[in-house]
Symmetry: C2
Subunit: 514 residues, 2 copies
């Protein structure tokens, strides 16, 4: 058994069952080993950002890391933006990055680069395996690192000679350390804070899964606190029967309105609320003046355990959770596109078990209320702010959950960073409905230009914000990559298209021409 | 004048007249300044790798750096693979990377990342400007760094508050240090080596421009040495009236055949020949055993000055350069596609002044002889080995040389990494003919799989090398981005399509279905 095969076997034994791959020469032994090892599904991406985003989506839906297979430094760099998003989301990923044979690196040939240096800003754990006999053990350590709560980015660099040399065998993956439980003092302090007037439980991470939300609802019922979701949320379990939460708004003034009057804030699985960007004359810290903040559980802590401890401390375990969403669907909307109408179309048509991947940017900010009573579903948001997130994450979610419909909402500008995802959807026949919101601009930047004090843009500035010259034809792009597609120019057409997409398996793209 | 405007004015004053941009919120002041400053052409890319590759192509054709405008760490990461290629090619680039306001960084909001850490592996020079008053001066230093021979990557990080704060004015760019001339000893040693039997002048960088080749031809006429181009070549001036050189072959055995028998090798603007990748049982060093190597001029030295000094030392300045190519074109080829036929089709149709950007990978390795006598043209190759190079470099070359036809040859696999380039070609009406060689595979990997000793691939391995499920329809992809396109399924159709493309201004794509 060579080093590459020992690594593939170690990955499979350690629970890593999917590899999102874009390999090259230095990874050919890993590829060659795939036919000798059962249990690793290998999914090809035409661009590395598809692979890293897919691993993010896969983790969010399974709580298990996938691997990526990447070609030296530039391949890793192409994956990096979506690794950034995965890192911020607390998704575990095991990157396998090929490298030249160790003896070859000193010749500084074209593809030679500082791979560890490239990996470090996007990884919690980085190692270059030194020999074919260490590859399996290092692979096991990479899996362990990826499994550290809430999920981490581990990057294992695999020199070609360690892949082709003789290995010693397969390694067992050590368990990751358990997430830390809250101290008694933290629980008592949080309970005390929430019992005061104008208190807020500010939650993120796995507090947004159904069980966490139920506990939050019990705590709210007992104390009267508000429950508020953080701005970025990796996965919210929503819909009928669940406790609805709103995310903190991107726009500072609206976020401030959501937080207004809060005098006690208890953080569980979320950092304190900060502005996404800085703007001249606007605050970075969004917590209201004078508000006291209590940390129940940090992002990497035992979030569900903390909520349970808090509910018990408050004697709230037998409370009926406050605000459970009742089943309800909006009417099918008609007429011209409006932002609310788009949210209604989605709420009216999404099936039970849908996984909504939301990179709708400016378009979808107000969609939540229209699907609060829809059948139970998941909603995934971008935690790292790097666009080009949606379609790759949808790929990974669809690979993770083949029996569920994935609905991927993307702004036209965002979609173009990783448009190659469509090809992987077609190749794997993934059950994804992609909605492109074509407003023919980087719409968010218009408001941002004003917000940073650069208002009244001239023609050259506007040229950097518009996508209308030429107009992107997403149905042609989809066709070019083997994905069926349709256009919608009003709400009737959109609900018709959505109804069709929801009733057919496989990828389908809707160009929502706004 | 704010910091951003002081930077734009400093760039223009320092000779940086083009900005390949994909901006976001943190760059809005830079964008806002564009309308107040004359002399900066801003070209939008839908993906950052388009911008960095375009800057590379622009430098190769002008010997002047362009700037890129990128959105924080992930935007820089998306640009990195083509920055890697530009760095290896010796292209000067000034990256302007937005950053959060300095006071905002500590809140670790979604887009916060270690931007300097991301920049370092791909940059010769990295700085975060600390205040709005230092931005102009730091911008001037970045231009100076980019101008260091043969051309360097300079990355200036621009925190939003240094962009919006008040500046002190515009800065003058100091001259970069002149490239070092060769020592008298090096020139004498090189002359002595080349006068011995079985000698070779091994050249790269600007030795491959017309004047360098002419000098090499004079030296060859005088000494009888062979002249051999390096494997990677940033830009070769070729065609009738010029001294033709071959590049060193990618395949080890063929490279060894080119170098066989060489007993004296003189390096000028190129490193000694090494294998691109390491393979089990094959050498990394390609110089024949016992061959003596003499460095006349390193990659960063005064290459043309060195060749002149050498020619003078050899009393060769009045020699007639050996091997000048005579005007000749191949016949228009007919019938089924063959690799030679493709080279003939190109040689038969390329117009005078064409700029050939070559990312044809396995397809185009043998094209050179068929265009050796074509009208004078330039030929640009990938120096860094990161695919996704061709179309972005073509964008930059076309912006640099609006009166010349750019012919961009790309393998289908390679094209998909930066396919967004087509949109920029359409938007700017760039005069680029894109030929996609559709062999529906990462064809190079089949041979590589065998070369690394992983022969006889099974179905899972083969699945990682093939692009035929689904088949990419490049004419649809082009249409989706506003570029006219046609298909060619044999050599008659190809020459017809090429003839059409050469006689029309503007972008055109030919899907060469092999």
């Amino acid at each position: 058994m060579n080093g590459a095969e020992s690594l593939v076997r170690t990955l499979v034994k350690g629970g890593v069952e999917v590899c999102f791959a874009n390999p090259g020469t230095s990874e050919m032994h890993f590829v060659g080993a795939l036919d000798r090892v059962e249990g690793m599904r290998c999914v090809l991406g035409l661009f590395e950002g598809v692979c890293s985003g897919a691993a993010d989506g896969y983790y969010r839906m399974t709580d298990k890391p996938a691997s990526t297979l990447l070609h030296l430094g530039p391949g890793l760099a192409n994956a990096a933006a979506n690794l950034h998003n995965a890192k911020k989301a607390g998704s575990g990923v095991v990157n396998i990055v090929g490298e030249h044979a160790l003896y070859h690196i000193k010749y500084d040939t074209p593809l030679t680069a500082d791979i560890e240096g490239i990996a470090r800003p996007f990884s919690h754990w980085v190692k270059t395996s030194p020999t074919s006999k260490t590859v399996a053990g290092d692979g096991a350590l990479a899996i362990q690192a990826a499994n550290v709560a809430p999920g981490q980015i581990a990057t294992l660099i695999l020199p070609a000679d360690t892949a082709w040399g003789e290995a010693e065998g397969v390694a067992d993956t050590p368990a990751a350390p358990a997430a830390e439980k809250p101290s008694k003092e933290a629980v008592v302090a949080a309970a005390k804070a929430l019992k005061k007037p104008n208190s807020m439980l500010f939650i993120g991470g796995r507090a947004l899964r159904a069980r966490g939300l139920e506990l939050a609802g019990k705590i709210a019922a007992k104390t009267g606190c508000k429950v508020q979701g953080a701005g970025g949320t990796a996965r919210i379990e929503r819909g009928a029967g669940r406790i609805p939460v709103l995310r903190l708004h991107f726009v500072i003034e609206q976020a401030q309105a959501q937080l207004k009057g809060t005098q006690q804030m208890v953080l569980c699985g979320a950092k304190a609320p900060f502005a996404f960007f800085a703007y001249p004359g606007k605050p970075s810290v969004l917590t209201p003046d004078g508000c006291e903040t209590t940390v129940l559980c940090p992002v990497e802590g035992d979030i569900l355990g903390s909520l349970e401890a808090l509910a018990m401390e408050l004697d709230a375990m037998n409370e009926k959770a406050a605000g459970v969403a009742q089943p309800s669907r909006p009417e099918r909307p008609t007429g011209k596109f409006t932002l609310d109408g788009l949210g209604q179309a989605l709420g009216a048509t999404m099936p039970e078990g849908a996984i909504v991947v939301d990179e709708s940017v400016t378009t979808g900010r107000g969609f939540f209320p229209f699907s609060a009573g829809a059948p139970p579903h998941d909603w995934l948001n971008n935690m790292g702010g790097s666009i080009g997130f949606g379609a790759p994450v949808a790929v990974g979610a669809a690979v993770a959950c083949p029996d569920r419909k994935v609905i991927c909402m993307i702004g036209d500008g965002s979609s173009m960073y990783t448009i190659q995802s469509l090809w992987t959807m077609a190749r794997e026949n993934l059950d994804v409905c992609v909605m492109i919101f074509s407003n023919r601009s980087y719409n968010i930047l218009y408001s941002q230009l004003a917000d940073v004090g650069a208002a009244n843009p001239g023609p050259r500035a506007i040229d950097m914000l518009t996508l209308d010259r030429p107009t992107l034809q997403f149905t042609d792009l989809a066709k070019g990559m083997g994905v069926a597609a349709g256009k919608a120019t009003n709400l009737e057409e959109l609900t018709k298209q959505l109804t069709y997409a929801m009733s057919h398996k496989g990828p389908y793209l809707i160009d929502v021409i706004m």
